[in-house]
């Protein structure tokens, strides 16, 4: 990239540059300027010498994390929970959007839409409080229901086998409707004439979904999927933390909750940075590989 070429293209595309400049400035100032803090993962935090003036420690903090007694189980749990969330949670809003799009009665459609997006606004504390009340094996409505259909006494909150299903399903319950909004918007751009002519050709409703709706959603689906792969090691903290108990702990202790418990948030900035960076790099590698695969196979990619 020679400077003269940049200048030339700038003269040609100056309007485009002007339109993108505010975003570049915002990202530069608020995201890139603080990025010098990443050094902290490789250095000791020394208050008297400034944020990045401490002694250089190389990968010592990374090593400390990897050699940790619980490292293996933390990685496994974190991976399983987010993997299950992606596998089951990712298709759910797509299916819901297609379903909602099929409702022909306008009132019913609006009622459905408004209802399904509401749970998104429930705070995590209340959600987990509700899970405790409703799923209680003794007194909850789900407990009553399970007794009625002969499943007997299963404490869904206490078992290592049911923790991930309860976590993932309640997540879907809460966010599926909200996440379907983007797909609904994409579906709204489909030309109605396409449906009319398909009907003329005798296409069934299912065929219209298959050959008109799904292709319309494809780019959005691919992009969102790539992005979700970049979250493979990020699980929410608060919900898991509140759902933990001594019986499900073997599967519910994840990196985020562990970091919280050793109390490093308040005192060990360097160690916390190193664990964060470790997480980020793995996420980033997943995203880059996913993006490259997608570029090859579907010509859709992030950059």
């Amino acid at each position: 990239m020679k400077p003269s070429i940049i200048r030339n293209t700038f003269i040609r595309d100056y309007q485009l540059w002007l339109m993108v400049l505010p975003a570049i400035a915002a990202i530069f100032i608020f995201n890139y300027i603080p990025m010098y803090g990443i050094q902290l993962a490789f250095k000791d935090f020394d208050f008297s010498k400034g944020l990045t003036g401490g002694e250089f420690r190389g990968f010592a903090y990374f090593q400390q994390f990897i050699e940790n007694y619980q490292f293996g189980s933390l990685m496994r749990n974190t991976f399983f929970i987010s993997f299950a969330t992606i596998v089951i949670g990712f298709p759910a809003p797509i299916i819901l959007a297609l379903l909602l799009n099929q409702i022909r009665i306008k009132r019913a459609k609006q009622l459905m839409q408004t209802t399904v997006y509401l749970p998104h606004f429930i705070s995590v504390i209340v959600l987990v409080g509700m899970l405790n009340v409703l799923l209680s094996s003794e007194t909850g409505i789900v407990g009553h229901f399970m007794k009625a259909i002969g499943l007997g006494h299963i404490n869904l909150l206490a078992s290592t086998n049911t923790f991930i299903p309860v976590y993932v399903l309640s997540d879907i319950w809460q966010h599926c409707g909200w996440n379907s909004i983007i797909y609904l918007a994409a579906l709204s751009t489909v030309d109605p004439q396409l449906y009319d002519s398909a009907k003329m050709d005798g296409a069934s409703r299912w065929q219209m979904v298959r050959y008109i709706d799904l292709p319309a959603l494809k780019p959005t689906i691919i992009i969102l999927f790539i992005l979700s792969m970049g979250n493979i090691l990020s699980t929410g903290f608060e919900k898991i933390f509140l759902m933990q108990n001594s019986l499900n702990l073997p599967v519910s202790e994840v990196i985020a909750t562990y970091v919280y418990k050793i109390g490093i948030v308040s005192s060990q900035f360097s160690y916390a940075s190193a664990i964060g960076l470790f997480n980020t790099i793995i996420n980033f590698i997943f995203l880059i590989s996913m993006n490259a695969i997608s570029k090859k196979m579907s010509e859709t990619s992030l950059y």
């Binding site: 890139y32 003794e138 206490a158 001594s246 073997p250």
Partner: protein, 537 residues
């Protein structure tokens, strides 16, 4: 890809440069001119108060002492998430003159942010009330002093609190109803609980709604069956027994790998198998744990449990049904001492209740305020509320805590609403005469049954002096890391063994795991500090 990396590099470098420049230019203008005499000096302060506590502007005692110290303090009142706010604030060095709150700045913070906080030794001669506290109660000076001799935070001392956090309750009405004797050991307890379960103890016609035993969940911590280890002579103390540590014959040990703990788990498993423990004991949240014990109207649900005090644990209506019990012996044939959880120090002392910034421009004014705060007749007001609305001055040099204005409100809530209460910085001299409110009297009354066991404990020898020990930051980090690992293991194993048994087969591998988790290292560290502490005495 190469080009992208190039772009990124440029971005990042530019960012670093810019940040570096802007950091250097952030020298604050100095306005250190002393206020003209007669005019109040302005100070800034952060107080970490309880969420119930009313605005500071409405506290009469605080206005009075600000007046006396001739200062005008701008308070920032924080009720939640102080830990999260604190990090960036301290790291940026952008801090107020004073901090008030329970361990508001920790010893670890002092080590981490060296130089940010004022050594109060230099100003001590301006604070006779603080000097008086150190003289009257040397323990407070020990808590205040760092290993290098500096005093960076002042402690609080609240004197009136009981020797133990835990009281053990049994439903006396149920015992009477079923003609049962008060149990004195574990086996008798088992029989009583079984009767509770099988014979419709609450008499409402439903034989299945009684919950013989309940606790908040897990092992260690408050209101936990771990206190039953006292029945085998283990001297617990909440500071460290939450993670299983205790002292025996001068040695720091951990009950989580002790044979006596194994007996306790087996006993609890026996109870669980007989359906005597709440099936949701490991999953319920604290709200439900509390709600269940409140029963329905005058029908109680819970037979045997632990709590702070009956009216809090069971509600005003059911509290009279319960009796505070003496500790239970392990077995009828056990001849050794019976002990109980000793927590006097934790409950009555608190480190770093008030801290001063080293950058403060008005240290003298700040110290004047601190001195007023530690005056004896101010201490009781910080803890219980202003003289007038909250405390009556009896005129003869004695005081009494008044009941809440709103008869519906309980005294505890009233206290927390009115003042800084336990979150404050204060010293209550052992000389001051104060009649306590009904809530504290109930706590002290219900502690009577534990007194015999507690009186046998020699706090100097038998209890790990957690409150008085200052760890190095490295030891502190190591210990908290190991403890997290240990408790993960212990909690899950305990829950599994109580609900499904299997402790005999798994015990040996469990003990090995505990060693891998870092238990020996922690015991070694704590032993070292314990011996240093005793040598200093």
């Amino acid at each position: 890809m190469k080009k992208m990396m190039y772009v990124l590099l440029v971005f990042t470098l530019l960012g670093t440069l810019l940040a570096a420049c802007s950091n250097d230019s952030s020298n604050q203008p100095s306005n250190g001119s002393a206020a003209p005499s007669g005019k109040k000096e302005k100070l800034t302060a952060i107080v970490v108060k309880h969420a119930l506590t009313k605005p500071l502007a409405e506290m009469e005692w605080l206005q009075e002492i600000e007046e006396k110290a001739n200062v005008d303090i701008e308070w920032q009142e924080i009720t939640a998430d102080w830990g999260q706010k604190k990090g960036p604030m301290l790291a940026s060095g952008d801090i107020p003159d004073l901090f008030v709150g329970p361990n508001v700045i920790t010893d670890a913070d002092f080590a981490q942010f060296n130089g940010l906080f004022q050594d109060l030794n230099e100003l001590l001669d301006q604070a006779p009330n603080v000097q008086q506290m150190f003289e009257d109660n040397p323990a407070t000076q020990v808590i205040a002093t760092q290993t290098d001799g500096r005093i960076l935070g002042l402690p609080k001392y609240q004197r009136f609190w009981p020797d133990s956090v835990n009281r053990q309750y049994i439903n006396q009405t149920w015992l009477d109803h079923l003609n049962l004797e008060m149990p004195t050991n574990w086996d008798e307890l088992y029989d009583v609980l079984l009767a509770f379960k099988e014979q419709d103890a609450n008499g409402n016609g439903d034989p299945n709604d009684e919950i013989p035993v309940d606790w908040p969940g897990g092992i260690g911590g408050f209101f936990n069956p771990a206190v039953m280890l006292g029945g085998m002579g283990i001297n617990l103390s909440s500071d460290v027994s939450g993670q299983g540590y205790f002292v025996e014959d001068g040695q720091v040990k951990n009950f989580l790998v002790d044979e006596r703990y194994k007996e306790l788990v087996k006993f609890l498993n026996k109870l669980y198998a007989a359906g005597l423990i709440n099936t949701e004991v490991f999953t319920h949240d604290y709200t439900k744990f509390q709600s269940v014990a409140r029963g329905e109207g005058d029908i109680a649900k819970v037979g045997f449990t632990w709590g702070w005090v009956a009216s809090d644990r069971f509600g005003e209506q059911l509290a009279p049904q319960y009796t505070s019990m003496a500790p239970l012996k392990w077995s009828a044939s056990y001849n050794g001492d019976v002990s109980w959880s000793y927590d006097f120090n934790t409950l009555n002392y608190g480190a770093n209740a008030i801290v001063m910034s080293a950058k403060s421009k008005k240290k003298d004014a700040a110290m004047r305020f601190i001195n007023e705060l530690y005056a004896p007749e101010v201490g009781i007001q910080v803890l219980f509320g202003s003289i007038g609305p909250n405390i009556a001055d009896n005129g003869d040099g004695s005081y009494s805590v008044l009941p809440p204005k709103d008869p519906q409100m309980d005294p505890g809530t009233w206290k927390w609403t009115s003042t800084w209460a336990d979150n404050g910085a204060f010293y209550i001299s052992d000389d001051i005469k104060l009649t306590l409110g009904t809530d504290m009297q109930e706590v002290l009354d219900h502690s009577e049954s534990l007194q015999e066991a507690l009186s046998r404990i020699n706090p100097e020898e038998d209890i790990y002096p957690s409150v008085f020990i200052k760890y190095s930051s490295q030891d502190n980090n190591t210990m908290s890391l190991n403890n997290t690992n240990l408790m993960n293991l212990a909690d899950t194993s305990f829950a599994k063994w109580v609900t499904s048994g299997g402790i005999e087969q798994e015990w040996d591998s469990y003990v090995q795991e505990a060693e891998k988790a870092g238990l020996p290292q922690n015991l070694e560290i704590m032993q070292r500090y314990f011996e240093e502490y005793k040598a200093r005495k």
